[in-house]
């Protein structure tokens, strides 16, 4: 029975790490602008799909990976420059709608430029399962988990310690004041899109060997990543990680112990319950507005 | 008979006692001022009295009824209104509509009537507009009637808050720094307004750092420091109190002139 539990846990952690990784991508743009970037999942897709296609074109994996990340980052920067920047000052909701448009657009481009099929990517370090007390986990899952841990840590450092990270936060909290203290808010926004595209593409590449990749994998990963980010408290690095793990584990335990048909519903019910008691997510900052 | 009675009221925020076992009473029909250093707890006190915050301890009574913990809209219905130090304007409306929200409790709020436009909604709305416009004239904002609130200068927004608060026909009106950002001439106008409001039977509680305004209109002054009562009395008593001078007034302001 313990082995079973452990297996559920490991499965949950694997999936949860994927959600957490995507959730981190959401945090960056959110932290710079309070915009939820619905195209975040598309960054994930672009990372994986580009790598697959570059490898199919004969490039060795490391080169393909680097190029894929570059491609995604460039697209992220273009998105900011061409679509977000011109609409600055439009308010958060219109900006979110723009990112929805962008996600449809990017998916459309991917299915024309690449294809509509699923693709497998070879795992980084083989696919011999690792046995832990009767449960198994794939080496690639460890990569995802490690990737998430490293990224989470870096982001935490970035926003809690680095000056530019704080300037980003400041820009989201009060763009006017940020400009008045000399923050180049355009650059901040541009960087936030570049960074989260980077993070998204890395996530996509780490995940592709496990989940496969196709032009529309971004939808589900984006949605679950969003849930994880909210659960943890939007914009909070550790929150994104923990949120991702909780959603993943809830799904796995739900599927294992309750009902596989309702496992997603179980995860959502948990999220709702958490929000009812902690309206700003697990780690979210409480509102500080005073009257 | 007291209008407002505060008993052992406390509120703490993460270890800081913003209001610390405060007792005081406010008699009806006068102008009371609450002054004190920045962070003394004046705004927090307003927030406790008007139900924005729940107290950590203590009780608030209004016209003899215990109103501790009641939601602000319930208090509004009982005749309590206020303005905000951090302006709370409906920026998605015109100035006039802002004031019309203040009339909410006096209007027909039945859903059916609203949906089907029954019971002379149109006529009542026109009358509400007139009433709101009248209030804006009263506070000197007739120039801004149909201006979008987000296009108004800061000073005018202060007046708008006052008009909106008056619209609900309060018996107790709490004003949080109504003269902040106004020049002496405008402040004098506000002083005149406050007197008029008080004369019309509304009890006014005023929080303000402009000593000329405070000393000019108050019947009674309460001084807070670190959430506690530092002094209480008439204008002259408070002005002469060395503790108040040391903690708050400083050397120049005690004379009642403005600024340095």
């Amino acid at each position: 029975m313990f082995a079973e539990f452990l297996q559920f846990l490991l499965s949950g952690v694997t999936v949860g790490a994927a959600y957490g990784l995507v959730a981190l991508g959401f945090s960056i743009i959110y932290n710079a602008s309070h915009v939820i970037n619905f195209a975040q999942g598309e960054f994930v897709m672009l990372g994986g799909m580009s790598t697959v296609f570059l490898m199919a074109a004969g490039l060795p994996m490391p080169v393909a990976v680097v190029l894929a990340v570059l491609v995604t980052v460039v697209l992220g920067l273009l998105l900011e420059k061409l679509a977000i920047e011109p609409a600055r000052g439009a308010g958060v909701v219109p900006l979110i709608i723009i990112t929805i448009g962008a996600s449809i657009f990017l998916r459309g481009v991917a299915q024309v430029a690449m294809d509509r099929e699923f693709h497998a990517m070879p795992p980084f370090t083989g696919d011999a399962p690792i046995m832990i007390a009767g449960a198994t986990i794939l080496p690639q899952s460890l990569w995802v988990f490690g990737g998430m841990a490293v990224m989470g840590m870096l982001l935490w450092y970035f926003f809690a310690r680095a000056r530019f990270g704080k300037a980003m936060l400041a820009t989201a909290y009060n763009p006017l004041a940020a400009r008045l203290i000399g923050v180049n808010t355009r650059l901040v926004l541009l960087c936030s899109f570049g960074l989260s595209a980077l993070l998204g593409s890395v996530a996509g590449i780490l995940l592709a060997p496990i989940t496969f990749t196709s032009y529309d994998v971004g939808i589900m990963l984006g949605l679950k990543g969003f849930c994880a980010a909210i659960l943890g408290g939007m914009g909070h690095g550790a929150g994104a990680v923990v949120g991702g793990l909780i959603v993943g584990i809830a799904e796995a335990m739900g599927a294992g112990y309750i009902s596989s048909e309702y496992k997603d519903a179980i995860a959502f019910i948990i999220i709702l319950l958490v929000l009812f008691f902690m309206p700003n997510g697990l780690f979210g900052k409480r509102t500080t507005e005073r009257v | 008979m007291t209008l407002l009675k505060v008993e052992a009221l406390s509120r703490e925020f993460g270890g800081i006692l913003a209001v610390d076992s405060l007792h005081f009473e406010i008699a009806p029909g006068s102008i009371h001022s609450i002054i004190g250093p920045n962070g003394a707890g004046k705004t927090t006190l307003f927030n406790l009295v008007t139900g924005v915050y729940a107290p950590s301890a203590g009780r608030v009574h209004f016209e003899g009824r215990d109103i501790t913990g009641l939601a602000p809209h319930r208090l509004a219905a009982m005749g309590l209104s206020r303005t905000f130090q951090n302006l709370q304007i409906f920026f998605n409306m015109t100035a006039l509509e802002n004031v019309m929200v203040g009339l909410h409790l006096t209007l027909d709020r039945r859903l059916g009537a609203a949906l089907f436009r029954l019971g002379g909604v149109a006529r009542k709305e026109r009358r509400a507009r007139d009433a709101a416009a009248e209030l804006m004239r009263f506070v000197g904002l007739e120039a801004y009637l149909d201006v979008d609130a987000d296009a108004m200068p800061y000073g005018a927004l202060k007046g708008l808050e006052l008009a909106r608060a008056l619209a609900s026909k309060p018996r107790l009106l709490l004003l949080d720094e109504p003269a902040a950002g106004l020049n002496p001439v405008e402040t004098e106008e506000v002083a005149g307004l406050i007197r008029k409001i008080a004369q019309s039977g509304v009890t006014v509680v005023l929080v303000e750092h402009d000593m000329r305004l405070v000393m000019g209109v108050s019947d009674h002054v309460l001084v807070l420091d670190y959430g506690r009562k530092l002094a209480e009395g008439t204008v002259d008593e408070v002005r002469a109190n060395p503790d108040v001078i040391a903690a708050y007034l400083g050397s120049g302001a005690a004379g009642g002139t403005h600024g340095a």
Partner: protein, 326 residues
């Protein structure tokens, strides 16, 4: 024309409603066949939902990413109660609306305590849970394959065919818009906007913010449910595909595109996002690219939405045309 009449016509309620009625009345002249009717009906049904959703999002400032769930519940109530339990369609529709109203009422208080993205998340979760339920309870709902729904009977007559439904949906839309305009122009509507503007200020003005948030949530959910029921009877079929998250997002997009806090904006947004994909089908593979692009460009150039932006432009034109030469 008398001044009073002119003013009445310029008033969004009278003038706009007459305009909308005229459009609905004249449109069939340009609809060559049932397909076009079908698109128009689809636009009308979406518009009804969006007018309700706009009360919630545009006026009261509370986002919902779960409204497709309410539409779906309405549709499935009509389907399941008539097919499985043999209810009269009108009774089923009413029961559905009631049920959705009660559900919305029950969840509204805890959900609407949340703000911004957290509220978006909670409503999204609610919508997804609803869609999982209709997907899973195949015994009643037919699961992913959906189920057929009998026609709506009205005084013993079967309401069938696009031409008939066009007028039903048109009338329903007109009625919904009328209700929405009435609401907005009343103290209740102003209270909703006040909730959006500043909750503390609304409260101290005597507005029971929690009550109004719940109220508008319930109203918009009930409207969605009724539109869902109508849609189910019109289509004769319900399926879970349109109950999900994407449809919810689409509905919100319609509201924002048309213009938040604009009832006609909601109608225009719904019409455009319904018609546009039909226009783009000729592009085949490039359909999605074009759609995404148009969506982005519209919002970039008209961030406040089509209808408000259009009126601003028109007003500026008028003003500069009427201004004396410098």
């Amino acid at each position: 024309m008398s001044q009073a009449l002119k003013r009445k016509l310029a008033d969004p309620r009278t003038g706009g409603l007459l305009g909308l009625a005229a459009v609905i009345a004249v449109l069939p002249l340009f609809l060559p066949n049932n397909f076009y009717y079908d698109v128009a009906i689809g636009a009308g049904l979406s518009a009804i939902v969006c007018v309700g959703l706009n009360l919630l999002i545009g006026y009261a400032g509370q986002i919902s990413l779960g409204h497709a769930g309410f539409v779906g519940l309405g549709a499935y109530s009509s389907a399941v109660l008539t097919v499985e339990f043999g209810w009269h369609p009108l009774a089923a529709m009413t029961a559905g609306a009631l049920g959705v109203g009660i559900l919305a009422f029950l969840v509204a208080r805890p959900i609407l305590r949340l703000r911004g993205h957290y509220l978006a998340m909670a409503t999204l979760g609610l919508g997804i849970i609803i869609s999982i339920v209709v997907n899973t309870e195949a015994e009643y709902t037919g699961g992913p394959d959906g189920m057929t729904v009998p026609s709506l009977m009205f005084f013993g007559r079967e309401l069938y065919g696009e031409a008939v439904w066009y007028w039903i949906v048109g009338a329903a839309l007109l009625f919904t818009v009328w209700l929405s305009l009435n609401l907005i122009a009343s103290p209740v509507g102003r209270a909703l906007r006040a909730v959006h503007g500043s909750e503390p200020a609304a409260e101290i003005a005597g507005v029971d913010t929690a009550h109004y948030k719940v109220l508008v949530f319930v109203i918009s959910a009930v409207i969605a449910s009724l539109a869902g029921s109508l849609g189910a009877h019109y289509a004769g079929f319900v399926s879970p595909a349109n109950v999900g998250f994407f449809r919810s997002i689409e509905l919100v997009t319609m509201v924002v595109l048309g213009g938040m806090a604009s009832t006609y904006g909601a109608v225009v947004g719904a019409a455009i996002l319904t018609v546009l994909p039909q226009l783009l089908t000729g592009l085949e593979d490039y359909e999605h690219i074009a759609f995404g692009l148009i969506l982005m460009l519209t919002v970039i150039f008209m961030p406040r939405g089509l209808v408000p932006s259009f009126f601003t432009i028109a007003r500026n034109r008028l003003a500069s045309a009427g201004a004396p030469p410098p």
